[in-house]
Subunit: 339 residues, 2 copies
């Protein structure tokens, strides 16, 4: 049902070369008016529509930009995408989005899909699980501009826009210490992913700088889901010496922690204080609003897009590569502000 006529079909029907068909369709002056009319009439008859893509194959420009994120249902990522769109739409680019669900195979297939869609560039936040660089190398081989945002790999020649996650973890932990907390647990993300490792290192450094000994029972790796926050918090509360506060690297995990703490009839923030990460909208709207770290996602998207524009519009031989690091912003709310 989805068969499209091609220039090869038209060429066959008219018994002329595909190149002649192509030239006729592109109004090449070498082609006679008679042939041009014949080709155009046949093309219409055969339901052939010359598309921007066929032209893109020749010019190498599709005006589509691909964005690859782990998940679109996180406000952080959808906001970065909004920033990218706000920057690129006025420049005549369309944005097409794929999600990898933190799956290395899907990431590879999505990259192939985007490359096959002839995107002019790829802006991506890598998977936690991506160990090999095959997918990324594929982009670089094709000389398609690549920009990382948020979750990056350190690869020569690839620009990136991130926030200072170490500082985010440090600020969150320092804030809890300033509120009088001494037994601070950390619900980390996958520590093989740079952003989560950095947040965790910021947490540890803040403890160290305040003379608080790191307790390994207080560190649990989680996936950014509500249930994981519930399960991990149950473990923490069952410790002989339970923590007096939790810094979570994910707002969803922080939400799960709050649900679990309520079941134990403990008071937030007086018994246990909570800080999340990402400034998901629900953290603000909860009756018990959640202290969190804002990552300026719209700005991050705009900057990533403008780095892409610089690269793609760069007609010199000088390669432009940038590493841009934005500052995180701690937003103090009810979940950690003691009475």
């Amino acid at each position: 049902m989805n068969q499209k006529s091609t220039i090869y079909d038209i060429a066959k029907k008219l018994n002329i070369s595909a190149a002649t068909v192509s030239r006729a369709l592109n109004n090449n002056p070498k082609i006679s008016e008679k042939t041009r009319k014949l080709v155009n009439d046949t093309a219409n008859e055969m339901n052939y529509t010359q598309n921007r893509l066929a032209l893109a194959l020749k010019s190498g420009k599709s005006n589509n930009v691909g964005v690859l994120v782990p998940r679109i249902d996180r406000n952080f990522f959808s906001s970065v995408i909004r920033g990218i769109e706000e920057c690129l739409y006025p420049e005549g680019y369309q944005v097409i989005i794929c999600q990898t669900h933190d799956d290395e195979n899907l990431e590879m297939q999505n990259i192939e899909a985007l490359l096959n869609a002839q995107v002019d560039g790829i802006l991506m936040s890598i998977n936690g699980t991506t160990e090999k660089n095959d997918a990324i190398n594929k982009i670089l081989q094709k000389k398609v501009p690549l920009i990382f945002f948020d979750r990056k790999k350190n690869i020569d020649g690839v620009s990136s826009v991130t926030i200072n996650d170490f500082d985010g973890g440090y600020q969150a932990t320092q804030h809890l210490i300033d509120q009088g907390c001494k037994k601070i647990a950390h619900l980390a993300g996958d520590l093989s992913v740079e952003i989560y490792k950095d947040r965790c290192n910021g947490y540890k450094q803040a403890l160290l700088d305040n003379g608080i000994k790191f307790n390994e029972n207080y560190l649990i790796e989680t996936i950014s889901k509500v249930e994981q926050g519930e399960d991990s918090t149950k473990k923490l509360l069952n410790l002989k010496n339970p923590p007096d506060s939790i810094f979570s690297s994910s707002d969803f995990v922080a939400l799960g922690a709050i649900q679990e703490i309520k079941k134990h009839n403990l008071h937030i923030p007086n018994d246990i204080s909570i800080v999340g990460f990402s400034n998901e909208p629900f953290t603000k709207f909860m009756e018990l609003s959640i202290t969190t770290v804002d990552q300026s996602p719209v700005e991050m998207g705009k900057i990533a897009a403008s780095v892409f524009l610089e690269q793609v519009n760069n007609s010199s031989n000088i390669e432009i590569h940038k590493k841009i690091v934005l500052p995180p912003k701690l937003l103090v709310r009810k979940s950690s502000l003691k009475n």
Copy 2:
């Protein structure tokens, strides 16, 4: 920087026809081994990579499916997309997503981007503002399978998967009446959009069936944003005869209504009961959980995708078109359950 070599470049360099280059790259037996080797070596040298897309231009199949939604940052839409992916990934399709932001021009440009990316099908939820059918006709002209979900237009030959929005509006309103509410306001969506009109008609019918007169002061059109819920609720509370309950066609608007009602020191649900629509995750996690209507989005996505598969795998001349309507599910929570 983003210039790609094409078969035309290779042809020019070797002074042979593009058709010969194409045949050589595709191992056509008509081409001598010597020419094939020459073409392949030159292609490598010129950094030419034959891509699936070029092949797609010939075969008419890219294995990419385009999904078009108003916004990705609504749980309803991201869940539909998850359902689509869960159905299509095992079949070897990749899913590429565009968002229209309820803008008719963006919708048109996104459709062009997807068609140029040679998608094998488009699954879309239309804009509220789309009056003309130009964009949709473009898809139909190209004979690309098109399936509507949630927000549809009634167009001959286009399949759709929706929920029974009339019934959703009816159930929500009947529930409030069952709780003893008599002065029920409705914060509607854009009433030129079918789903919102249907929800509103369900509301009106429930009033009628229960002998409650429709009060036009109790009906306000909104956009699905928290601030719109605050503003509209302020207007309702300032009426001489304010309502005792609100049915909102959007959870975000319901959330805004709750924020506003709290400012007036009124009790929810005893003074004013609230029902939203869509089952956004936050409605469950709020301390004052919000009664809402679930739309089975993952299931909707799976069904829409399977309708696409049926169409694309249909080798007969019989056209398959389906109108599938799913039942809504009322989820009763604290915001409307009186003590």
